[in-house]
C-alpha cells in the first residue's frame, strides 16, 4: 500500500533520518563484516592488534578446516532437523489449537486460551528444569501423580509391584524437538488472524457441506499462508540459534547441533588462537537462517503486518 501521500516535505529531517539509518546499518553490519574479514585471514593476520580491515586469501581453507574440525556436516544436518522439526511442529500445533479456540465453543475454552497465553511470559530458560525432567522421562508427571496420590504405594503393598514408568527422550531428535513445539506466540498469532475472518465464511463452508477438518485444511490454512510463513521463519531461526536446550538434551556428538558445535572451534585458554577458523565456522552456521529469511521475507512481512482479505 502506498501511503506516501501522508509524508510532508521536510528536507532537513530527511537528511537526518537518512544519516541515522546509515549509521544504524553500519552498527548492525559492522560485527558481521569483522567476522567475514577475520574468516578470510590467516592465523598471523587475525591475531594482529589492531586487526587489519582487509580480507585475506584463506577463506576457503578456513571454512574447510572449520568444517572438518567441528564435524559441521553432521551438525548442520542435526540443526536442520531440529529447527525444521520445531518450526513445523509449532506451526501445526499452533494452527490447530487456535482453530479449536476460535471456532469451537466448549467449556473452559477461555481458560485454556489464557493459560496458554500466560506461558508467553515464561521463556524456555525459566521452565528449563521441569522441561528437561519431562524430556528425560516423558512419563514422569504420571509417575509423580501415582506417587503423590498414594496409588503407587498401594500397588506396592497389595501386589508387590513397584511402579516405575520410564520413557526417556534424551539424546534423540524427539527429545530435541517435541518438548519445544508448544507455542503461545504462534497460537496467539493464529488466533488473531482467525478472528479477523468473517463469520459468513464459516457459514458458507457449512452450507457447502464442509466439515470442520475440511474447512481447516481447504479454507483456513490456504488463507493463513503468510501467517504460516512468518511463524515458520521466526521459529526456524529461533530453533536454529537455540543453544541451551540442545546442549542440555544431547550428550553425544551424533545429535549435537551446529550452534552447540561452534564451541569446539573456539580456541581454548592455552590453545592456538585460531579465531580465523572459528569465524569461518560461524559464517557457515549463520548462513541457513539468513538464507531462509531472505527467501521468505516478502511473505513474512505480510503475515506479520496485514491480513489477506
Amino acid at each position: 500500500m502506498d501511503k506516501s501521500g501522508l509524508v510532508e516535505r521536510t528536507p532537513i529531517l530527511d537528511v537526518v533520518t537518512q544519516t541515522l539509518l546509515f549509521l544504524a546499518l553500519a552498527v548492525s553490519m559492522g560485527p558481521f563484516l569483522i567476522v567475514a574479514i577475520a574468516a578470510s585471514q590467516n592465523l598471523h593476520d587475525v591475531n594482529q592488534a589492531p586487526m587489519a580491515f582487509w580480507p585475506g586469501q584463506d577463506f576457503v581453507a578456513n571454512v574447510q578446516a572449520a568444517w572438518t574440525r567441528a564435524d559441521l556436516g553432521v551438525k548442520l544436518l542435526n540443526s536442520l532437523i531440529f529447527a525444521l522439526g520445531v518450526a513445523v511442529g509449532k506451526v501445526a500445533l499452533a494452527s490447530l489449537s487456535a482453530f479449536s479456540i476460535v471456532f469451537f465453543s466448549y467449556r473452559g475454552r477461555r481458560v485454556f486460551f489464557w493459560l496458554t497465553f500466560m506461558t508467553l511470559m515464561l521463556p524456555l530458560e525459566v521452565r528449563i528444569v521441569p522441561t528437561y525432567a519431562v524430556a528425560a522421562n516423558v512419563l514422569s508427571p504420571y509417575q509423580s501423580l501415582l506417587e503423590v496420590s498414594g496409588i503407587a504405594a498401594l500397588l506396592h503393598r497389595l501386589l508387590g509391584v513397584t511402579v516405575d514408568l520410564h520413557y526417556g527422550l534424551l539424546d534423540s531428535y524427539g527429545g530435541l524437538i517435541l518438548p519445544l513445539i508448544a507455542t503461545a506466540t504462534g497460537t496467539f498469532l493464529y488466533r488473531q488472524f482467525f478472528l479477523t475472518l468473517p463469520d459468513e465464511l464459516v457459514e458458507a463452508a457449512k452450507m457447502d457441506g464442509a466439515r470442520p477438518l475440511r474447512f481447516f485444511f481447504e479454507i483456513l490454512l490456504p488463507l493463513s499462508r503468510s501467517n504460516m510463513a512468518a511463524l515458520f521463519t521466526i521459529m526456524f531461526v529461533w530453533g536454529w540459534n537455540d543453544y541451551l536446550w540442545p546442549l542440555l538434551v544431547t550428550t553425544q556428538a551424533a545429535h549435537r547441533t551446529a550452534i552447540v558445535g561452534l564451541r569446539e572451534l573456539v580456541p581454548g585458554l592455552n590453545g592456538i588462537p585460531e579465531w580465523n577458523i572459528a569465524m569461518a565456522g560461524t559464517l557457515v552456521v549463520m548462513a541457513p537462517p539468513l538464507l531462509l529469511v531472505i527467501l521468505t521475507q516478502r511473505w513474512f512481512e505480510r503475515g506479520l503486518v496485514a491480513t489477506e482479505k
Partner: protein
C-alpha cells in the same frame, strides 16, 4: 422444490428473545420475502431454517421432515449471504464448484456443471479470476452460482443485494426473479428494503419485534395492512396516520381536529376507544379550488420524483403527504384535499390491529 413448515418457533440468545412464536407455512416453489426493520428477527429466522443457529423451541420441517437436529449440510438448503462470503483464495470456478467438490463429484462432471451455471449467470469470462478481481455485482453472482450449483431444495437469501448500488440492485433483482421462474425452487429472501420485497415476493411476510405481523401477497399486504405497524412500514412515502377517539356514534375525532375528516364514520366497532386512521398518500387528491367535503390545507414543500411528486401539506398543523401526478402547487398555496372515506384504514390504537371501518370483521 420443498415445502417448509415453521411451527411455533422461539429463539433466545441468552436473556434476549429474538423470535417469539413464529408460524409460517411455505408451499413448494413459493418465493417468500421476509420484510422487517433491522433487529426484527428476520435474519435469525432464515438462519434457523439454514441450521446455522439452533432453535430454542418449536419446529421447522422441510418437506414434512423435522430438521431441528440436522446439520446445515443435511438440510438441502443453499444460502446467499449479504457480504457474499466467497472463499478469497479460490478462483470463481472453485468457489462455485466447492460444494460439489465436498460432495465428492468428479472433476469432469464438476467442470461441466460449473460452466453451465456460469453461463446462466454471465460469469463464463471470469471463471479463472479470484473474487478480489470482481465487482460487487459479479461477486454476488458468484455467490448465487455457488448456491445454484447444488440444485438445492431451498434457496435462502440473506439481504443479498444490500451491498450493491441502486442500479445493480434492480438488475440483480430481475435476475433473481427470472432464475426463480426457471428453476422453481422454494426461496426465502430476507430484506429490509420494501421495494425489493414488493417486487420479488409471491408471498410477503412482514415481521416486527420477533413476530410475524402479516402474511399475504404484496398487493394484499399493501392494500389491507393487518396492523398499524404494517401500514406505517410499507409504502413510500408512508401512510398518513392520525390518532384520535371514536365517539359513541362511531364518528372519528382526531387529536388534530382537522384530520377527523379522513374518516368521519369510523363505525361503532371501536366506539368509545382510541383509534388510528390512515390514508395512503396516493389516495388523496389535491385540488386548487374548494369542493364539497374537501379539507383545506397549505403547501409546505414538494418532493419531485420525476414520474410524480409528493406534496407535503400542512393539515391542521400536522404534515400530510399527498402523491400526485399533476403539476405541483406553489409553496404556501392554499389547497383542498379530497379523500374517499372508503380508502381510509382504521386500526385499534391499543392493539394496533386493523378494524373494518364499517364495523365487524376486517
Amino acid at each position: 422444490m420443498a415445502s417448509i413448515d415453521i411451527r411455533a418457533v422461539h429463539k433466545r440468545f441468552g436473556a434476549a428473545t429474538v423470535l417469539s412464536g413464529v408460524d409460517l407455512q411455505i408451499v413448494a416453489g413459493d418465493f417468500v420475502v421476509i420484510l422487517g426493520p433491522s433487529g426484527c428477527g428476520k435474519s435469525t429466522l432464515l438462519r434457523l431454517v439454514a441450521g446455522l443457529e439452533t432453535i430454542t423451541s418449536g419446529e421447522i420441517a422441510i418437506d414434512g421432515r423435522v430438521v431441528n437436529a440436522l446439520e446445515p449440510r443435511e438440510r438441502g438448503c443453499a444460502m446467499v449471504f449479504q457480504n457474499y462470503a466467497l472463499y478469497p483464495h479460490m478462483s470463481v470456478a472453485d468457489n462455485i464448484g466447492y460444494a460439489l467438490k465436498v460432495a465428492g463429484v468428479g472433476k469432469a462432471e464438476r467442470m461441466r456443471r460449473i460452466e453451465e451455471v456460469a453461463q446462466t449467470l454471465g460469469l463464463s469470462p471470469y471463471l479463472t479470476r479470484k473474487p478480489s478481481a470482481l465487482s460487487g455485482g459479479q461477486r454476488q453472482r458468484v455467490a448465487m452460482g455457488r448456491a445454484m450449483i447444488r440444485e438445492p431444495r431451498v434457496f435462502l437469501f440473506d439481504e443479498p443485494l444490500s451491498n450493491l448500488d441502486a442500479q445493480l440492485r434492480v438488475q440483480l433483482r430481475a435476475e433473481i426473479r427470472r432464475l426463480h421462474k426457471r428453476l422453481g425452487v422454494t426461496s426465502i429472501f430476507v430484506t429490509h428494503d420494501q421495494m425489493e420485497a414488493m417486487t420479488l415476493a409471491d408471498t410477503l411476510v412482514v415481521m416486527n419485534g420477533g413476530k410475524i405481523e402479516q402474511i399475504g401477497t404484496p398487493s394484499a399486504v399493501y392494500e389491507t395492512p393487518a396492523s398499524r405497524f404494517v401500514a406505517a412500514f410499507i409504502g413510500s412515502p408512508p401512510m398518513n396516520l392520525a390518532e384520535g377517539i371514536v365517539d359513541a356514534d362511531g364518528a372519528f375525532r382526531a387529536d388534530v381536529a382537522a384530520w377527523s375528516g379522513l374518516a368521519p364514520h369510523a363505525g361503532t366497532a371501536l366506539a368509545g376507544r382510541r383509534a388510528i386512521v390512515g390514508l395512503r398518500p396516493e389516495k388523496a387528491v389535491v385540488l386548487s379550488e374548494p369542493a364539497a367535503g374537501a379539507l383545506p390545507a397549505t403547501v409546505e414543500f414538494t418532493e419531485e420524483y420525476g414520474a410524480g411528486r409528493v406534496v407535503h401539506l400542512d393539515l391542521g398543523g400536522k404534515t400530510f403527504a399527498a402523491a400526485t401526478q399533476a403539476s405541483a402547487p406553489p409553496v404556501g398555496a392554499s389547497v383542498w384535499l379530497s379523500v374517499q372515506h372508503a380508502d381510509a384504514h382504521l386500526f385499534d390504537a391499543e392493539s394496533g390491529l386493523r378494524v373494518a371501518p364499517s364495523g365487524g370483521a376486517a
